[in-house]
């Protein structure tokens, strides 16, 4: 029985047993449903083995929404625990686990796949390509991310969750102070997902550099594609750092090395430094594509071209460079002295300049426009003021001497939520409403959508503005409880109310999807928003090959150019189209990775060796495989095109 003891959760509670039951029931329900409706074949052929960037994108979206739910439940539990002083809803251990997983899930398993969804679905369409450069690698990226996310999530019910914060600073995250396997989950699950992300980075840089439609020079790329390109460059440079860091963490925890330990020369500060060398660029990996989405949405609904295209591109390039030069601002209080702090203080504040340029460009895009308030536009217009608040508090935090007072407090928590929620989450929701018709052939309900946007914003203000105040009043972050005498009660109660309002907002999104699926009209055009870029020039739903004829581009708003200036996008006759074949290897290999990760976490070395061999066998098979893809004939294209045009 000793063998099985290791899988038990060290601090069980009702919530954990309930989750076990819920996970078990869901798995049974999914299996039963698939069997009953005879969908196994469909699932395998159309989804598990797909290499189509649009389907992979949709799978990213589903995972992101699922993880949004998980992270959201964590959040509401935290706010509930802190709503009143001396609350006993959660104990310290559970609270620690929950804020740790909330951070990781929201950043790495919710925001990242949401961004990946947009890049996958939109970039090839926007540059007029038929797929990404390496479709099969793309599938592998997704499945590795997915298995990493799932592996991370089962920590809640098998063996215990990580509890050292999403930053996992050593020595706290070391063996001595974190004995459960929780932090092993952190190291391995993120490692697996991170490999997937790195490959996405390589894939999309190649795609964007090499596969643009004829005539689309770099400076004629739509802004979202630009933002995706830069974000992927950051991924390629930042994620290897994370990989090494996690490997060293794993070695320390499971192989007794002394990178970050307190004895034999280990250095706890090294973890913090390397973590943020990855961690800060990571933030920009999320926010830059979000900026790209806002640029698309704002120019579409202001009915005007984006103001200051060149400075938009330039500011993103500068932001991406600066993002690697500011990491020490996450620990001004580590005692590196006034000179170092001054340097990082200045580089950090410098980021405000290019970011400000973007805000002013968006404002000037509105000028002389003809603004239509759709749901995506509403999110974007709520984004500008709320994000500005987050941005300026960022400048405040960058003042290192004052940061000694903000650091580790609720002020900081308020700040980063204030940039991430209006900055990234609103962009995702704006993009979700914006691209939904292209994906599924019907719009999301506008009325519910607008209600949601307002609820989220009101909830957001109530939830996070009080944190600025309680932070300045001395409330440290990550405290599972506080006393009545501290005077934090009122602010935390308001915060809880705000969080509850936001929760209603998120439930409304789910309701909107349900409602719109049932009631919204299927009779929409290929271009329901009267948009400006290539993704709206093809059919809805998008055919497998995206474009029957590759578009000919001569401006950065190719579709608008075609609509207003009579430019002909699609010239010439149909030719047969080369498409990649589906493959089961990415899915199977990722499943092996899952087992590998699970065994590794529990130090079960025999399965680790077996699965490692399995992974290499998959790679070898791939190496020897001869797969030249397949062709879609002209006749098939003609049929598809006629059908889609008729519909």
């Amino acid at each position: 029985m000793d063998f099985f003891d290791r899988f038990a959760v060290p601090h069980p509670s009702i919530a954990i047993y309930a989750s076990m039951a819920a996970i078990g029931l869901t798995v049974i329900a999914v299996i039963a449903g698939l069997t009953y409706f005879k969908k196994w074949g469909y699932l395998w052929r159309e989804w598990l083995t797909t290499v189509d960037h649009k389907r992979i994108g949709i799978m990213y979206l589903l995972s992101a929404l699922l993880m949004l739910f998980r992270g959201g439940v964590d959040a509401i539990m935290m706010r509930a625990q802190l709503a009143v002083p001396e609350n006993t809803l959660l104990d310290a251990q559970h609270y620690n686990e929950i804020f740790t997983t909330h951070g990781i899930v929201m950043i790495l398993f919710m925001a990242m796949p949401f961004i990946m969804f947009f890049m996958n679905f939109v970039v090839p369409l926007q540059i007029g390509a038929r797929d990404v450069a390496f479709p099969r690698l793309n599938a592998l990226s997704f499945w590795l991310f997915f298995m990493g996310a799932m592996l991370f999530n089962i920590s809640f019910v098998v063996g215990g969750s990580p509890d050292a914060g999403w930053t996992s600073y050593f020595p706290l995250a070391g063996n001595e102070f974190s004995e459960s396997v929780g932090t092993n989950y952190y190291m391995i699950a993120i490692q697996i997902a991170g490999i997937g992300t790195l490959m996405t980075g390589i894939n999309f840089i190649t795609t964007i550099l090499k596969m643009r439609a004829p005539g689309m020079t770099l400076m004629k790329m739509p802004m979202f594609t630009w933002s995706a390109l830069i974000a992927n460059v950051i991924i390629v440079f930042a994620f290897p750092v994370l990989a090494v860091l996690l490997a060293m963490g794993t070695l320390d925890r499971q192989f007794g090395t002394h990178f970050f330990t307190m004895d034999n020369g280990g250095m706890d500060m090294l973890w913090a430094n390397i973590f943020w060398v990855w961690g800060h660029p990571e933030v920009y990996i999320l926010i830059l594509p979000a900026f790209g989405i806002y640029s698309e949405v704002i120019s579409t609904f202001a009915r005007r071209n984006l103001y200051g295209y060149k400075s938009m591109v330039g500011s993103m390039v500068i932001i991406s460079l600066l993002s690697f030069l500011v990491w020490a601002h996450h620990f001004f209080t580590m005692g590196q002295g006034a000179l170092t702090n001054s340097i990082f203080s200045i580089t950090t504040m410098a980021i405000a300049v290019p970011t400000g340029v973007k805000i002013f460009n968006w404002l000037l895009t509105l000028r002389k426009g003809k603004i239509v308030f759709t749901t995506p536009m509403l999110y974007s217009m709520l984004f500008i003021p709320l994000f500005t608040l987050g941005g300026v508090t960022g400048v405040m935090l960058a003042m290192s001497a004052a940061d000694y007072q903000y650091h580790n407090t609720m002020f900081l928590v308020a700040h980063f939520h204030n940039v991430i929620i209006p900055g990234v989450v609103y962009a995702m929701l704006a993009g979700l409403h914006y691209y939904w018709p292209k994906m599924f052939g019907f719009m999301l309900n506008e009325k519910i959508g607008k209600w949601t946007a307002w609820l989220l914003s009101i909830g957001f203000i109530f939830a996070f503005m009080p944190m600025y105040v309680s932070g300045l009043d001395g409330q440290a972050r990550r405290m599972y409880t506080y006393s009545e005498a501290s005077g934090f009660s009122l602010m935390n109660m308001i915060s809880f109310v705000g969080a509850a309002i936001m929760a209603i907002g998120f439930v409304l999104i789910v309701y909107n999807i349900y409602y719109s699926t049932r009631y919204e009209s299927r009779d929409i055009s290929n271009d329901p928003w009267d948009a400006r870029t290539l993704e709206w020039s093809t059919h809805t739903p998008v055919p497998e090959y995206n474009f029957a004829i590759l578009p000919d581009v001569r401006s950065n708003e190719a579709l608008w150019d075609a609509k207003k200036n009579g430019h002909v996008l699609f010239k010439g006759d149909y030719e047969k189209i080369h498409m990649p074949n589906n493959s089961g290897i990415p899915f199977i290999m990722s499943c092996i990775f899952f087992v590998w990760g699970f065994s590794f976490i529990f130090s079960l070395w025999i399965p680790v060796i077996v699965t490692t061999i399995g992974i290499f066998v998959c790679m070898a098979l791939r190496s020897f495989e001869q797969d030249h893809g397949r062709y879609i004939t002209v006749k098939e294209i003609e049929e598809t095109e006629t059908n889609l045009r008729g519909a």
Binding site: M267, G335, S345, R367, A402
Partner: protein
């Protein structure tokens, strides 16, 4: 004079707003009781003021655009023009933020050197040196010159420079007394220095601000500032009444958990010296780097249970 006037006006406005927000109790960070906290509070208020201007400008521009250019206000056949951008607009767009950031950077750099030095106004006093070391989840305060040690409470004299030397017997923690000044990390690997001073007597909240595990929320300590005379009396009293700290006793204290307030004569520094690595000043020396591990090694031998 003029600048001071603006600053004072800003100060009072924000004090009022924030005070009202917080239910009439002044927020700790903005209620400084020492020169370092004062400098930080004034930096905070200055930046709030400047940032408020930016926020107002952005809000105003946004509202103006949204009101003026919304579709319902426009002719049905209005075609928005194609505008690429304008060099001068962009110069302004970059220029003004650059000026603001440059100004704040200047203030920030100045403040960095101020908070990292002996507190203003107390340059001539001989600083009281206190070693503050954390263990799960307590604070140990050693007064080497006085030869006494306390747990979870701190007595300090007013009107005198205080020099805290911080380190940790475990996870990274952060030593923070909001009303006296900002925090700094205490780590196992090196000793960091925090310069503080208290202008007035009183009771202040102190805590570990950096998450350090299960007992983190309760990882607090009380700070009492008193006149030098009262402080000396207290030291004397402790020396007469308290028990000496022994190696065995100290190891018991290090066990994870919470303890109440305790007082000892002697300090643990004598048998369990702090890590020999020190904060990197401008002249960060290679030698102190390479010496670090030997110190921290012996130091933690007693810890690994």
């Amino acid at each position: 004079m003029h600048k001071k006037g603006i600053k004072a006006a800003l100060l009072s406005v924000f004090f009022t707003i924030i005070t009202v927000l917080a239910g009439c109790e002044p927020l700790l960070v903005l209620d400084p009781k020492g020169p370092q906290a004062e400098r930080q509070a004034s930096d905070i208020l200055l930046s709030i003021g400047l940032m408020a201007i930016i926020v107002i400008v952005v809000f105003a521009l946004l509202v103006y655009m949204l009101v003026k250019y919304r579709a319902s206000k426009q002719r049905a056949d209005y075609e928005p023009p194609h505008i690429e951008g304008n060099l001068w607009v962009e110069v302004i767009m970059v220029g003004i933020p650059v000026i603001i950031v440059a100004f704040l950077s200047y203030v920030s750099v100045q403040s960095n050197y101020i908070v990292e030095a002996k507190p203003k106004g107390y340059e001539d006093t001989k600083p009281l040196v206190v070693y503050a070391s954390s263990s799960n989840w307590k604070w140990h305060f050693s007064y080497p010159e006085e030869g006494i040690e306390t747990v979870n409470y701190l007595y300090i004299p007013t009107d005198r420079a205080l020099e805290f030397r911080l380190y940790s017997h475990g996870p990274i923690t952060s030593f923070w007394i909001p009303q006296l000044g900002g925090q700094k990390y205490a780590m196992a690997d090196m000793v960091t220095t925090l310069h503080l001073a208290a202008d007035v007597p009183g009771e202040f909240m102190g805590r570990n601000a950096n998450f350090s595990g299960k007992g983190f929320a309760e990882n607090t300590f009380n700070v009492t500032a008193m006149s030098q005379k009262d402080f000396d009396d207290w030291v004397k009293e402790v020396k007469e009444t308290a028990k000496p700290i022994t190696e065995k006793k100290f190891e018991e204290l290090l066990e994870p958990g919470h303890l109440g307030q305790q007082t000892y004569t002697g300090t643990h520094l004598e048998f369990s010296p702090p890590p020999s690595g020190h904060e990197h000043g401008e002249e960060s020396s290679e030698t102190s780097e390479s010496d670090t591990h030997t110190g921290s090694h012996t130091e933690h031998e007693g810890m690994s249970h």
